[in-house]
Amino acid sequence: MALSDFIAQLDVLEAEATRAFGAVADAAALEAARVEYVGAKAGKLKEAQQGLGKVDKADKPAAGKKFNEAKTAIEAALAAAQERLAVGAETSAQAAFDITRPGRPLRLGKLHPITQTIERMKEIMGRLGFTAVEGPEIEDNWHNFEALNIPLSHPARDPLDNFYLATAAASGELNEATGPDGKPLLLRSQTSTVQIRVMEKTPPPVRIVSLGRVYRPDTADATHYPMFHQIEGLLVDRGVTMAELKSTLRMFCQAYFGGDDDVHIRFRTSFFPFTEPSVEVDMNWPKKAGGTGGWMEMGGAGMVDPNVLRAVGYDPEQVTGFAFGLGVERICMRQHKVRDIRDLYTNDVRFLAQF
């Protein structure tokens, strides 16, 4: 037999066997195909092997090599068919166990969005070198007004704009609640009070942020609530300038909102008793970062008024300082698309679960 005939014969067998094993659908068909092609007695492979003896002696090594290749391929096709059908046999056990069933539920509570906002602000300001401090929410006249350069005649002191405090006497009558100075106590209307408390007991430099609740008599609606949160930053040292204020605010906003986009800060002239010059701070919030692309109001800022520095015993000829105050709710609501500030304080667990 010519070598070429032998090879052709084996090619046909290999193709036929592979097709047959690939087509079997159950164990019986597989067994039939196995007997037909690789049966030890009368299988077609066995039969082809006999052809090996008939080729020329010189061609024997090439023919043997070809035979082994065909044998390996056919046996592989058999093994693949066996494996395919064996997998099928496991399906009933698999069907009985539902891998799509949920795992054992673990309930992870959520941090309030205000906490998340505050923590993020503190973290960023911390990286910028500002240490977070706290102060009392109930303040005296000195810290809420006097030391902040808010004179008695200033409208900010108006009882209609502040929550002055009283205590109920046994008779039910309200008596004015007074501080150590004998003047009325009130719920603080701004976190700037903490600046005073820190500066009073710390010589410069001072580099702090204070965060917390503040209170103003606003009628509650979608954008107002009588209690809200502020972040207040203060840096007092030799040679602190308004350029540093603007740059610090830019770095804060860049870290908070910007990502890869450049954030810019705009100052608008404003008026606050405790800073001079005083400005409103706007930030351009890039569209890519989820913003509107326009100017977004962030809060108020300015250079610490010399009267404030003097009130805490600092010398305005020696040190200068900047201060800024941003509303936490406004930033939180913009970022998380909270539509009504009252939702933040209703504590509907479905609302809280979103954060």
Partner: protein, 672 residues
């Protein structure tokens, strides 16, 4: 302050682009609130901060525009011709309340003809949203909107005795205003009176009796200065807020008083005819000239972080109306204009330079020196507590610091003092500053029940306010929670928080006595005899008070001792390399025996081979098997010797010794 562009153009050429104008005004201090087209005119609504009453008139805004965009401010110089007899022969001004009114001036015009205003005047007033009345009243309003000085026109014939008396209101004095409402006045209020009665609430509103009507022929024009605080008090007290009171509350230009008076007379003569009496009848001194302020040029970059040339500083100040009295290479001395009472100090001048030079000139990429910052111990601990609570499945709530008064007394384990209260409620009826967070959280619980929310597990970290007479209250920070679980679940949460954060805190458990809580299934926690916390299931009464349908429990923990005792930097100990041996124990006790005592005895007996002791259950109490009033306490001990592998016999010996000791001290018996 709404300004009309047509009107502004009387005093200063406006830039072509309205946007350029409003953008620049916004940056320099007059924040744009809105723009509206009114006929052929444009009305611009500008927000004026309380320190800038000079911009409550068109001339003030025009001056700002002149300073920003350049150009010469063209301010009228009214010189009305007086052809009548001397005013002081016909009217007197008696200023008796100089604390309430520093200065009062009156001019008199006789023989006017009251008529509607001409179109040009009516249109201007309409543009800025002011109603037209008649030519005389409109003229006074026009001048107020022009220069910011409120004026008032009296029907002179109605002023009894030809007298103006400026005085404090008498107690219970009655006054009928232009709005035809009668007000009962109180001392502290400034009234303008004639020989017999009050005819105006000074600076706030005129009186009905003396208002200018169609029959009026002689008018007295008042131009005065009233005390800002007194005006604000009166406007608030009588809820009479007017463009006039708004301006006096912020202060008027003392030099503008006479200008406004002359300007109004000039306009009235032009619009309504008549004869102006000669001179002005006035009382109260002219305000002394403001002192010169010295500006050191070096202070400008020291504060702003940007150089502004001295020539530019001087240009800005002069354009704003400051008068230079002295200038050197390093400093300039100027007297601020009378309409800028807010300019008193060097820093005030620096702000003027900053805003006019432009805040956009200040760089936003300056180098800020680095500085280390640190987190406070409290901050670190609170974060740990919050994260533990969320891991335990609690959502964080934020509730109002004030509550309805009855909610303070509903639950206050931390103090009994009468609560601090706001004079006006913070929200609805919430006026009392809380002394516990629990009532607020139970309120949230009810809200969530109402919303049919199934899982209501809430916590809050906030302050409570414990009053101290004559001092700031003690503000203490607490962790509070409410859960749908029972005593065991809530205690587990509290114990886990304490174990995680302050494992060294030696907590004792005592029975709690709060009507809000179930008398049996509640307890207080103490550290060294000081209260640390309280927890338990709500009593039936408690659930009723908060209108709760489902089971509810609470806990509240003083975070002060937790922060103090928190282990912030854990240290690694040596781990015992030998295998543990466990033994389960089932001991029958009287029901009154406490686990804490059982545990203490077991620990004492086992000594240093005790690795862990774990309570399993004490639920089995069947009298049939145990006898009456008995319980079976199931617990396990894990033993490990520090010296080598503990043998089974040694472990049995420890167990037996524990059982013997429990029998001796607590009458416990091993359950067969």
């Amino acid at each position: 302050m709404i300004v009309s562009t047509n009107w502004l153009a009387d005093y200063i050429p406006l830039p072509k682009s309205l946007d350029a104008l409003t953008d620049r005004l916004t940056i320099t201090g007059l924040n744009l609130e809105g723009v509206e087209q009114v006929g052929a005119d444009t009305a611009i609504d500008l927000e004026v901060t309380s320190n800038r009453p000079d911009c409550l008139g068109h001339i003030g805004v025009a001056r700002e525009i002149a300073v920003i965009f350049g150009g010469q401010l063209c301010k009228p110089d009214p010189q009305p011709k007086a052809t009548g007899p001397a005013a002081k022969s016909l009217v007197s001004v008696d200023l008796r309340a100089s604390r309430l009114s520093a200065r009062y001036t009156a001019r008199l015009i006789r023989g006017v003809k009251i008529a509607p205003s001409p179109d040009w005047l009516a249109n201007r007033l309409r543009s800025v949203g002011i109603a037209t009345i008649n030519n005389v009243v409109d003229a006074t309003n026009y001048v107020m909107l022009e220069i910011g000085q409120p004026l008032h026109a009296f029907d002179f014939a109605k002023l009894k005795g030809g007298k103006i008396i400026v005085r404090e209101a008498n107690p219970a004095e009655e006054f009928t205003a232009i709005d035809h409402k009668t007000y009962t006045l109180t001392p502290g209020t400034c009234v303008i009176a004639d020989a017999e009665r009050a005819v105006a609430l000074g600076g706030v509103m005129g009186g009905a009796d003396t208002e200018v009507s169609d029959a009026t022929t002689d008018v007295l024009i008042e131009a005065a200065d009233f005390d800002a605080l007194a005006i604000r008090g009166a406007a608030r007290r009588f809820n009479l807020h007017s463009p006039s009171s708004y301006r006096f509350e912020r202060g008027v230009d003392p030099e503008g008083i006479d200008w406004a008076s002359r300007r109004a007379c000039e306009l009235i003569l032009q619009l309504a005819g008549g004869t102006l009496c000669e001179g002005v009848v006035e009382a109260g001194p002219a305000r002394p000239q403001a002192a010169a302020i010295s500006l050191r040029f070096a202070q400008v970059p020291r504060l702003l972080g940007v150089e502004v040339a001295p020539s530019e500083c001087r240009r800005i100040l002069t354009a704003l109306g400051c008068r230079e009295t002295k200038a050197t290479a390093d400093t300039v001395e100027t007297i601020p204009p009378t309409w800028r009472a807010d300019l008193l100090r060097e820093i005030d001048l620096i702000e003027e330079i900053a805003r006019i030079h432009g805040y956009d000139q200040i760089p936003e990429d300056a180098r800020v020196p680095m500085a280390p910052s640190s987190r406070s111990r409290e901050d670190v601990v609170l974060e740990k507590v919050r994260h533990a609570m969320t891991a335990f499945g609690f959502d964080e709530a934020y509730t109002l610091s004030a509550v309805e008064p009855e909610l303070v007394t509903a639950f206050r384990p931390w103090g009994e003092a009468a609560p601090l209260a706001t004079r006006t409620p913070v929200l609805r009826r919430a006026s009392a500053l809380r002394q516990s967070i629990v009532p607020s959280l139970l309120g949230c619980r009810r809200t969530n029940e109402t919303l049919s929310n199934a899982m209501i597990e809430l916590f809050e970290i906030a302050k409570v306010y414990l009053p101290r007479a004559g001092d700031l209250p003690l503000e203490k920070r607490f962790l509070a929670l409410t859960s749908g679980g029972g005593f065991v679940e809530v205690k587990g949460v509290v114990e886990a928080v304490l174990r995680q954060i302050a494992p060294e805190l030696a907590v004792q458990v005592k029975p709690a006595k709060h009507p809000l809580l179930d008398a049996v299934r509640s307890c207080t926690l103490e550290v060294n005899g000081q209260p640390l916390g309280v927890l338990g299931e709500l009593s039936k009464a408690g659930r009723q008070q908060f209108e709760l349908r489902g089971a509810a429990s609470i806990a509240e923990l003083d975070l002060g001792p937790v922060v103090a005792a928190a282990r912030l930097v854990p240290t690694a100990g040596v781990l015992n390399p030998y295998p543990p041996v466990s033994r389960d124990l089932n001991v029958v006790f009287d029901e009154a025996v406490r686990w804490a005592d059982v545990e203490a005895i077991a620990r004492g007996v086992a000594g240093n081979v005790l690795d862990a002791i774990e309570f399993q259950s004490d639920d089995f109490r069947d009298a049939k098997y145990l006898g009456e009033g008995k319980k079976s306490v199931l617990f396990s001990i894990t033993l490990r010797s520090p010296d080598g592998t503990l043998t089974s016999e040694a472990a049995d010996a420890v167990r037996d010794k524990i059982v013997a000791e429990l029998a001796a001290k607590l009458a416990g018996s091993l359950r067969a």
